[in-house]
Assembly symmetry: C2
Homo-oligomer: 467 residues x 2
Amino acid sequence: MAREILFNAFAMNCVGHQSPGLWRHPDDRTTDYTSLAYWADLARLLERGKFDALFLADVLGAYDVYGGTPDAALRGGVQVPVNDPMMLVSAMALVTDHLGFGVTANLSYEPPYVFARRLSTLDHLTKGRIGWNIVTGYLDSAARGMGESRQRGHDDRYDVADEFLAVVYKLWQESWDDDAVAADKARGVYADPALVHRVTHRGAHYDVDAIHLAEPSPQRTPVLFQAGSSSKGRDFAARHAECVFVSGPSAKVIAPRVAAIRAAALPYGRGREAIKIFSMMTVIIGVTEAEAQTKLVAQRALASPEGGLVLMSGWTGVDFSQFDLDDEVRHVENDAGRTAMDNITRADPGRTWTVREVAQHVALGGIGPLIVGTPSQVADALEAWVDETDVDGFNLAFTIMPGSFADIVDYLVPELQRRGRYKRAYREGSLRHKLFQDGPRLKVPHPAVRRDKIGIKQEQDAETVTA
Amino acid sequence: MAREILFNAFAMNCVGHQSPGLWRHPDDRTTDYTSLAYWADLARLLERGKFDALFLADVLGAYDVYGGTPDAALRGGVQVPVNDPMMLVSAMALVTDHLGFGVTANLSYEPPYVFARRLSTLDHLTKGRIGWNIVTGYLDSAARGMGESRQRGHDDRYDVADEFLAVVYKLWQESWDDDAVAADKARGVYADPALVHRVTHRGAHYDVDAIHLAEPSPQRTPVLFQAGSSSKGRDFAARHAECVFVSGPSAKVIAPRVAAIRAAALPYGRGREAIKIFSMMTVIIGVTEAEAQTKLVAQRALASPEGGLVLMSGWTGVDFSQFDLDDEVRHVENDAGRTAMDNITRADPGRTWTVREVAQHVALGGIGPLIVGTPSQVADALEAWVDETDVDGFNLAFTIMPGSFADIVDYLVPELQRRGRYKRAYREGSLRHKLFQDGPRLKVPHPAVRRDKIGIKQEQDAETVTA
């Protein structure tokens, strides 16, 4: 039987997200992003639709590649201003029981000792529903906020990331044994000190000599998400990521990337079921084709091409303000730029794209593809995409909030349920349980888990070890 | 007419707080501290009692001065494990409308650019109900978690704190003008880039060159709390703090400290109304005297003297495990130690204290005084304390959670209301409004506000400027 398709909702703690200009749409509520009621409503909606998780993107800088200033981003409300995503989680967790929460955190600017406690706290408060999108950053503007003239080189960032993970893994997995907390009122023993271990780490980038401050949370290590698409990024994902985001313009383009990620994970002992892959996707749904097209026309009229280029400039490092809108898009020479551009243009290699067309595309859902149609048509397209690419599900961007997700919940989810391609009820347990039918803890051969360490008892029946 | 008395509830994201051992009490729920329902219930209770704020303490290390290891702290659940307090705020804000939230954050381990956004986010989400307890840290164990062999010297820490504040003030107050956000759907302008300013700071400890990522929140700068009692700490408070915590064993000891803080603030143009002073206090209330005494006996039987010494050792830097419980307490030579000890012993300078007596005292509410009695007796004591010391209110520690606060809400608050010494309704507006009847923004002569900067329009009618 065909696998159930997983759904992440993709959003950000800002006006809009990947649909610049659409905050002007009469049905859009994203200008309420500073309100807790807005986020609580979204969480309830997504749980009603049995979404696996709400995924919160983040940047720590303004998009200022376009024109060399943040002016266009500010004017258009293009992911700036942008608030801290982690501060939203506990309110949304309070009004839901099952929805997972993926939070993006840039490890370049967080001390691992403090960061590990923050994530442990969220894993406790959500009862094991937290995921972390491991990001190393791509905006020089963020580095300047931290007193550096620019961010580290791309490959260096992954070396720092490897060491950062080594530290937080030790804090999460090895500092407190499973049975360290007795909470024994009769004996007056809260924790057994012999079962709490100091983590010592002396490395190139980080030094730690302390116990983890948080007792073991349901998942210990949050579910690890990653989106790297470079070769270094892919190897990083192959070793660490439990969920990987991919983005591409067609199933044909995505399929070999998915295969490459799965192949890269195999030498680390991580088979087909070890990594869930989510494809970026935007859908506009109407009960009839005509209604869907009417929505598309209305949204396209408000989508901001300049906003699209602000985003593309940030993602690629290429200042698109220097081109005429009618210019043909040329090849972009740097890694990030090539990837972002390929994601749009490779769907049809024969076609020529103008800057305007790229801008319009990005302004409705970012670099992922856009599917417009009836619930049945969209379900057909998603099923085919999954079957052709071997992805596990979708990271669904919105164009209108909450309208895009409400349409998915009210129309697309029931259609997929009828087809046996979407869960009819949440599984019990942690986010890791829900995604992998196994949990709540990581197991060998994931590098977070070292079988030679005491305290990780549930892992000791596992087969292989990698460090 | 006598002033209304302000109430802060003092708690921490851990088992117990300042009543080690009492997590064993049958009515205590603090072992549920990892649950959101626990915190939501507490917030609702405090709002029912019209508390001004819930104040969350924090430490970033384990108490390991006692015996030179964290073993006793772990065994007794003495403020370790301890989770991140900021992660609790949005859930509690969702279920309340008026309660303020004071969060402790150690600036030594937070980059100001990231920290400023985090607090702005909380100020947005709470609609202006956030306060920040500025802490520079006192535990070497926290420094070791960050890869330093020990924390900075005491005075150095205040120099770093001054620079940290200079940076976050610029980000909060000066980066976005009041009218920068247009959110104008017709013109398609979210923010006016001409009214958003890059903050540049080059200092001894911090460099920043970036716009603040968050648009102006209701209060811009959170309400600033501080608890420094050293001379450097007092000067810091005199310049920056809007709320100051003091702790002492008697009104006689507290009164000159309060006068000294108010006197120190005057040269900075900050008069009697600029700083609210909260006195640490623990109360055990019974409907009858007998009931109060019964509660006291039951609680004292479960309070852990060793836990009290673990806390005292951490606060003073003196390892109390080296003494016999019957030893007389001698003079402590360092600043922090002298202050903590004075807070206990100076109530009655003639009296000799043994280590055991100190331990028992600290184990029921920390170094603040303990008042036990009927609602009327406790109200008498608090009124007298306020009138003799010129403090504005109390930072109320609990011994039993939620019992201590439930008794205050159900018995003490109505008694004080009858006497005209406690609000019958919350004031509308931000936490700053509620505390100062003025707000939501800071005004000159507070050093966060510079009248020569554009954009802080509501300040321009003020009288004096200090920078």
